[in-house]
Structure formats: structure tokens, C-alpha cells
């Protein structure tokens, strides 16, 4: 007999070693996330994926699925907190979406839409952050970094390099690169690296690609992030078996 957990009342099978996020994605249940990516080791820092597991808040992208867990995710309360956390990320950096090349392809923006975020709620930090346009093919705009470490992990785990790291403490966190000059051009980074394409926001962008796809025809202009995310994690609605859904009291 396979082991199962329930998420918002829906019974979901899982395999030993899977996290709650893994099990949920495989079963077609979207849990909002930013620092999680199925190809890389979990990090657990953005806290957007926080769910209640048997009454305790845990990050679903790091917490192991265990037989019989009762997980709540798509609740009004948790989504309110997720929206606030997203707003925190917006005010911490400088996200001027209308002028950003990533707009429409940006996961931060898309998650904001998904969570029905209509304003920034909190006062802005107006952090003074810089651009690194030194590399011939790729630029870093620190204004839009949310410290998800996906570029750090992609560089280490997929590219076999060590181009990026997050440095500093507390609100002074910042992205650094592995060169004496501190500039991207002096690292062994290449435009073909996985790390060049992983950034969920517009912090790492390929040069000379600007507005190839016009605004209005970009990924999240058509689709909600939940569909895109599930499709990317390999979920196929027709082929994946979802355990019998109990009509849940959590569906709103």
C-alpha cells in the first residue's frame, strides 16, 4: 500500500524521500513558491511555500512528506500571509515592473498576481543597489534580486562552477560573484550556463534580448503561474493519477 498525505483534504500519494512540495507538484497541486526549483536542492528561504502540517507551519519545499500528514495550503489565512511576504520582497528591492525587461516572464510578479496583490502595503526601503553590466552577454541588476539562491545552486549543481554567493547579514544581504574585481566579467560565467537562465526575477538578464517577445505575449500574460509551474515540474493532468478527491471543506 502506498503512503499518502492529504493536502487541503485531497489525498495524495508520495514516495519515500519526497518533500511535501514534490508530492504536491506530482499530484497537480500548486503551492506558491519562489526559491524552490525541482532541478535543484531545496533551500527553504522565501517562505512563500509555508503550509500547515498537522497544525505546525513548515516550508513545504524542505519538509519531508510523511504518512498521514494533514497539510493545509490553499487557505485564506496562509494566502494572506503569502501576499504579505511577497509584498515584503517587493518593498525590499526596487521593482519597477513597467520598465523591467522581465515583466510578464517574472515569477515574483506572477506570484503577486496569483495572490491578488494590488499594492505594496509596506513602506519602501529604496535600497541603493547597483548594476553589473560588465559581462559581454549577461547583466546583473541587483535592484531585483530576492536572494532565492537559485543562481548560486544552478552554478554549483548544474554548471560545476561557483560563480555566485549570497553575502552579508540581515537586511544587508546581497549577491556577490566569484572574482577579485567583484565583477561578473572576471568570473568563469558564460551565457550558456544554467545559472544564466534560472533567475525567477529580472536580476540576471541576457543582453541584447530585450523585448524580443512583446509585452502582452509573454508567459504570464496568458497563463497563471500555477499552470506554468505545474507543467514545468512535469505534471501531466491526463497521465498522473490523482487519488480520489474528497470534497474538501477548504475549497473556497
Amino acid at each position: 500500500m502506498s503512503k499518502t498525505i492529504t493536502i487541503d483534504g485531497k489525498t495524495i500519494p508520495f514516495e519515500e524521500g519526497q518533500t511535501i512540495m514534490d508530492a504536491a507538484s506530482a499530484a497537480g497541486v500548486y503551492i506558491p513558491h519562489l526559491c524552490h526549483h525541482p532541478d535543484y536542492s531545496p533551500h527553504g528561504s522565501c517562505k512563500l511555500c509555508n503550509v500547515s502540517v498537522n497544525g505546525r507551519i513548515c516550508s513545504s519545499c524542505t519538509f519531508p512528506a510523511m504518512d498521514g500528514q494533514t497539510v493545509l495550503s490553499d487557505t485564506h489565512e496562509l494566502n494572506e500571509d503569502r501576499r504579505r511576504i511577497t509584498q515584503m520582497l517587493f518593498v525590499e528591492g526596487n521593482h519597477l515592473c513597467p520598465g523591467c525587461e522581465k515583466s510578464g516572464n517574472c515569477q515574483l510578479q506572477a506570484v503577486g498576481y496569483h495572490l491578488n496583490m494590488l499594492d505594496n502595503h509596506f513602506p519602501h526601503f529604496y535600497a541603493s543597489r547597483e548594476m553589473d553590466a560588465s559581462h559581454p552577454d549577461v547583466l546583473i541588476d541587483h535592484n531585483r534580486c530576492i536572494f532565492c539562491t537559485l543562481c548560486v545552486r544552478a552554478s554549483q549543481q548544474a554548471d560545476g562552477k561557483d560563480v555566485f554567493a549570497i553575502s552579508g547579514r540581515g537586511i544587508n544581504k546581497h549577491l556577490i560573484v566569484n572574482s577579485q574585481s567583484g565583477l561578473l566579467k572576471d568570473t568563469d560565467f558564460e551565457a550558456t550556463d544554467n545559472a544564466a537562465h534560472i533567475c525567477p526575477t529580472g536580476a540576471i538578464l541576457a543582453k541584447r534580448q530585450g523585448f524580443r517577445v512583446p509585452i502582452g505575449r509573454r508567459t504570464y500574460d496568458h497563463k497563471e503561474i500555477d499552470q506554468v509551474s505545474l507543467a514545468e515540474s512535469g505534471y501531466r493532468p491526463n497521465t498522473t493519477l490523482i487519488a480520489e478527491t474528497e470534497q474538501s471543506q477548504y475549497d473556497e
Binding site: P42, G44, S45, C46, K47, L48, N50, I57, S59, T62, F63, P64, D81, R84, I85, M88, L89, V91, E92, N116, L118, D119, N120, H121, F122, P123, H124, F125, I146, F147, D162, F164, A165, I166, S167, G168, R169, G170, I171, N172, K173, I176, V177, N178, S179, Q180
Partner: protein, 624 residues
């Protein structure tokens, strides 16, 4: 310089786990970590420079740019503020001609603030090149300023400037009797290891670092290790690595009992670690000593050497065939490193970022091996229990909190210092002992704990009522609660490791929101917004720091709602920043300062804001 870095790397066996220790030594010599040193370490330790930089930028005592030859830090603890820290720092800054947060032009001295130094019973306190300065006042500051201006080496400074007193005022169950080195170990070998573990279980001892986890059970889990261990063959079983770590980070403001325990009872602490090692099968132990306690380092090292001499550490302990030794590692100014998994990261030479759990340290701790982390006082108590038995300990205290608790009492009382009370003692008794008659409230368990008012003095010291790692700060009726909350809230914002969003951004937002209210710019919606923010930080944060960072606001808001309300302006909304202030640069450029160059924040009746922002820019109540 290259040569000296090579020697340093060699001293630490070229182990990147010792990066923090190496960087501390470089900082001590050069007063920063020079570029050249970083280049050399990349080669010598085979680590990327990003790793080195991220460690330097994480710890408050390490720097990428030069500090003064005299690095002067003044403690920012609330008790230091209560004894005139602000005015003294101002005076010091004038005498030395250096601004707070900067280095004097000649490079001789730098001045800055630092989080609580663990000297709240003898403040205002500071640190100079890592060594404590106590009982600061104007004459002492004059003397210090002279010594610095004459550039006298620290070794020639009068020793009373560095004098740290124990102030041990009331001993109880644990501190009354001293235990001779080896006594408890001998008793343990006589009784049997599992039998001694049973005594510790029976004693009901719970961790003294704050969380109160059962010590016996923790040791048992570490002994068992992860499931995989059970399946390896007998030879491999004998090779299993276990670690014992003593948590002497003592960063919670107002706590200083571990300082005294390590100064006067260290042998008993080391013996507790050794007991834990023989019971769990560990061969290596660490004492993680907060950087602020550097002054204890040499003394502790010589005590370890003595224990090796007496066969209480090293190979074949007391002839029983056990191998165990203890290494002392120093922190470098980061409160979060008291959190056990952050502490382990720090011991591995990394920034102190709390790990995801599970796995817990008892199954995967230091270098991924089963590890016990216990507080200094927990090990001290374990030694006494191993000698006197579980029953001796369990007969004192309450049902869920056995034995006694060692408190660091400071603030508004006649006799600040160390007190040992049985669990279950009420606050009235404690206050009477330390000479506090005018009491507004007490902060119990430090900023991460609870503020109790003078209406609650029948409450008791116990895990089931008021738990504390040892911090006990008393405030008299002349103290302003909002000043206290302001100090604590900024402490957390400064100490957040920054790993997770709710704590990293949330604690800074909270500090801003408190500033706004304290400075009298709060409006009706602001207290509601404040409480909502607190709940998110508390609920959604990754570790204990974030989960408790809002406690100063929440516990005082619950008790004194009217205090917060009275700070608010009678308007429904006020922008998050000072409009008129924002025009200052423009006024300067235009060389104007007439009435027309100023903007009023509110209309004449004081009830409506004149200027308003689009919702996306405002701090207003939710418009959704």
C-alpha cells in the same frame, strides 16, 4: 603577509572548517581582512573567495575595510542605555574625536556600537580589540582616551579597566558545592554509562539554553544516531563519529550567567561534556565561546591542559579506554550563532545560518554526524547529577521543571549579579532578594522572552509559567516601555541572519514601524498594522530568532494597549515618510528656506493629510 597567512593556515591544518578562527586572527592583527589575505586563503584552503567574503560580511567583528588600531565598541544593551550609555558614547566620541560608526582619520581608533556584551551587571560596558571594558564613566573614559591618544599597547593599560567581577550573589543546589575534577566521571564509570544516563533521565533535567528539551533524551537520541547507523557492521559501529558541543554563545541581551560559570566553574562544565561524550560515544567536543568572552579563552585553555594532564581528557580517560578531547572555537559577533544549527554552521567555518529541520543535530549535526548541543549550565547540572544521582536533583523544583535555575539579574535593583533559585520561585521572592522595590515590569528570558508587569509578581520561574535562559532585566517606574521595545526591536533587526523573507524584511519593517510610532508619527491604523506584521514574522519565520523577534511588541501591546494608542496622532492616515524632510536637498540646492519652500504634513485642523500618495507608495491601511 603571505608568510603569516601560510603559518595561520598551517596552524589550523588547512581546514576550511576553521575559516572563522583564521579570519578572527587576521582581523586581530590587521584590524581588517586585507585583499591579499583573502587571495592567499583561496589557495591555501581551496575554497572560493565568495565563501570567505560571505563569512567576513556575516560576522560583526570581521571587516573588509580597515578599523582603527584600537577597535572600540560600546554595548547597546538596554541596561547600558539605562546607565547612561548614550551620553557616555557622545562624550567618548568627543574626547577621541571620532564619530560613532567611523574610523578616525589617522587610523588610530574606530568607534561603534555592538550588541549586548554579557556585562549587564557591570555596565556601561564596551570592548576594545575584543577585550571587555567595564563600569564606564567619565573618568574612565578620560583615561581610555588618553591611553589611546598616547597609543599605549593594551598590555600596559591599568588592569582595573578590564576587571570583570563574577557578582555571584546567591548559590543554590548547583553552585553551593564545588565538585573536584574527575569526581563525577569516576562515579559514572563506577555506576555504568547507561545507568548514569538513566539517572539524568530520572533527574528530569531540561536544557538551560531556553528551549527546555529533555537532556537525557537528547543524549539518548545522539547515542542511537540515525537509522542507517544501526545497519552497519560492528567495525564501522566502532568508528562512528559523534560530537558534543557546549553552547557558550550567550547572546541573549541581559544574560551573563555562562560567563560566570565558565570563569569559576569551567571544570564542572568540561566534565559534563566528557560525561556526555562517554555516554553517547563522541570523541570530539567543542566549546563555542562567544567572541565577547575572548578574555576567558587563555584561562579555559589552561584548564583543558590540566584536565589532559590528569587523564580526564585525551586518550584513555581515567584508564577506561575512552578517547575524548575538547577544542575551543570563538564566535565573532552574531547572536544567531546561539541557535544550535547556526552554531554548527559557524563551527564548520560558514555564516551562521540556521539549517532546515529535520534533520536535527542529534542525527545530523557537525559535519553531518550525530551531535549533542547543550547549554553551559546544562552540562554543569549534568555533572552534579552524575555525582549525586537523579533523585537529588528531581526533589527540587516543580513537576515539569526540576532542579534550580541560575539567573543573571540586572537593571533596576541594588544588587545585580548571579542568583540560583529553585524552579517554582515566584517573582516577588526574586525581586526581594536582589533589592528591587520600585518595579514597573521585568523582561524575562531577554528580548525574545516575555515582558511581565508589576501586576504579575505571583507568577513563577518555571517552564510551565515563565521560562528563561537566564536573562532577568528589571525596570523601575521611571522607565519608558516604548524605549525598551525600541531597543529590543532594533536588536533583532540587526541580528537577523537574513536567510528568510519574513524575518529579514519583517524585522526591519518592524523597527521602522516602531520608530514611526515612538517618534510620534503614528496614526490610527498603525497599531493594527504593527500587530499584523508581528503575527506574520512570528508565524512564518524560519527559526527561533524570527519567531520571537516580535515578542517585545506583542507582550507589551497586550499589557499596555493604551500606551501605544496614546502615541498615535488623531489622524486616520499618515505617510510613511516625512514630506517636508524629503524636500531638504531641493531647498539646499535652491538656496531657499522661506515658508513657500516647506510642505505641511497635515492640514490646519490636524485631521487630514494634505498630500496623499497613490496606494502603491503608501503605508496606509490595506486598501484591498
Amino acid at each position: 603577509m603571505k608568510q603569516s597567512i601560510q603559518n595561520l593556515a598551517k596552524k589550523y591544518d588547512h581546514q576550511s572548517t576553521h575559516l572563522l578562527q583564521i579570519l578572527r586572527e587576521i582581523q586581530a592583527i590587521h584590524h581588517f581582512v586585507p585583499e591579499e589575505a583573502i587571495d592567499a586563503l583561496v589557495e591555501l584552503l581551496h575554497i572560493p573567495r565568495t565563501r570567505i567574503i560571505s563569512v567576513i560580511e556575516f560576522y560583526s567583528f570581521l571587516h573588509l575595510s580597515p578599523r582603527g588600531n584600537y577597535e572600540l565598541l560600546i554595548s547597546d544593551s538596554i541596561t547600558d542605555h539605562m546607565s547612561g550609555k548614550k551620553e557616555l558614547t557622545h562624550y567618548l566620541s568627543k574626547q577621541l574625536n571620532v564619530a560613532v560608526g567611523s574610523v578616525r582619520e589617522d587610523g588610530v581608533v574606530s568607534l561603534d556600537n555592538t550588541s549586548c556584551t554579557g556585562l549587564c551587571d557591570q555596565g556601561p560596558a564596551g570592548l576594545i580589540n575584543g577585550y571587555p571594558l567595564t563600569r564606564l564613566d567619565r573618568p574612565r573614559i578620560d583615561c581610555i582616551a588618553d591611553l589611546i591618544n598616547q597609543q599605549k599597547p593594551l598590555t600596559e593599560w591599568p588592569s582595573e579597566l578590564f576587571q570583570v567581577n563574577d557578582n555571584l550573589i546567591k548559590s543554590g543546589l548547583l553552585l553551593e558545592h564545588t565538585i573536584a575534577p574527575g569526581e563525577a566521571l569516576k562515579e559514572t564509570f563506577k555506576r555504568g554509562l547507561q545507568e548514569t544516563l538513566a539517572e539524568i533521565n530520572q533527574s528530569g533535567l531540561r536544557g538551560r539554553g531556553g528551549a527546555g528539551y529533555s537532556t537525557g533524551w537528547k543524549w539518548h537520541l545522539c547515542y542511537e544516531g540515525p537509522e542507517e547507523d544501526a545497519f552497519c557492521d560492528v567495525d564501522a559501529q566502532n568508528q562512528l563519529q559523534r560530537y558534543v558541543i557546549c553552547n557558550a554563545d550567550e547572546g541573549e541581551p541581559g544574560t551573563f550567567k555562562d560567563r560566570v560559570l565558565l570563569n569559576s566553574f569551567a571544570d564542572q562544565v568540561f566534565e559534563g561534556m566528557t560525561l556526555c561524550a562517554v555516554i553517547t560515544g563522541a570523541s570530539k567536543g567543542f566549546l563555542y565561546l562567544r567572541g565577547e568572552y575572548l578574555f576567558l579563552y587563555d584561562k579555559l585553555q589552561s584548564q583543558l591542559a590540566e584536565r589532559r594532564q590528569s587523564g580526564l581528557l585525551g586518550n584513555n580517560i581515567l584508564g577506561q579506554g575512552f578517547c575524548f578531547d575538547i577544542e575551543i572555537c570563538l564566535g565573532a559577533g552574531a547572536y544567531i550563532c546561539g541557535e544550535e544549527s547556526a552554531l554548527i554552521e559557524s563551527l564548520e567555518g560558514k555564516p551562521g545560518i540556521p539549517r532546515n529541520r529535520p534533520p536535527y543535530p542529534v542525527t545530523q549535526g557537525y559535519l553531518g554526524k550525530p551531535t549533542v548541543v547543550n547549554n553551559v549550565e546544562t552540562f554543569l547540572a549534568a555533572t552534579a547529577i552524575a555525582l549525586h544521582g537523579g533523585e537529588w536533583f528531581a526533589k527540587i523544583g516543580t513537576e515539569k521543571s526540576k532542579g534550580s535555575k541560575i539567573l543573571s539579574i540586572c537593571g533596576d535593583c541594588t544588587q545585580p549579579g548571579i542568583y540560583e533559585f529553585p524552579f517554582g520561585t515566584n517573582l516577588k521572592t526574586i525581586l526581594a532578594e536582589c533589592g528591587a522595590d520600585d518595579v514597573l515590569g521585568i523582561q524575562i528570558g531577554g528580548p525574545s522572552g516575555t515582558f511581565v508587569s508589576n501586576q504579575e509578581l505571583d507568577r513563577t520561574l518555571a517552564f510551565e509559567d515563565l521560562a528563561t535562559g537566564g536573562s532577568f532585566i528589571i525596570f523601575n517606574s521611571r522607565r519608558n516601555i516604548l524605549d525598551i521595545v525600541h531597543n529590543f526591536t532594533h536588536f533583532f533587526a540587526h541580528e537577523s541572519c537574513g536567510f528568510c523573507t519574513p524575518c529579514r524584511v519583517g524585522t526591519s519593517l518592524l523597527a521602522k514601524q516602531i520608530d514611526k510610532i515612538v517618534e510620534g508619527h503614528g496614526s490610527a491604523g498603525d497599531v493594527v498594522a504593527l500587530e499584523e506584521l508581528c503575527q506574520i514574522i512570528k508565524k512564518q519565520s524560519h527559526c527561533g530568532l524570527g519567531q520571537t523577534a516580535a515578542n517585545p511588541v506583542l507582550t507589551t501591546l497586550e499589557r499596555y494597549p493604551e500606551l501605544y494608542q496614546s502615541q498615535l496622532k488623531k489622524i486616520s492616515y499618515e505617510p510613511g515618510f516625512d514630506l517636508d524632510g524629503a524636500l531638504e536637498t531641493a531647498r539646499r540646492l535652491a538656496n531657499r528656506n522661506d515658508a513657500g519652500a516647506h510642505l505641511a504634513q497635515t492640514d490646519a485642523s490636524g485631521s487630514l493629510p494634505i498630500a496623499s500618495f497613490p496606494p502603491s507608495l503608501a503605508v496606509a491601511e490595506d486598501h484591498e
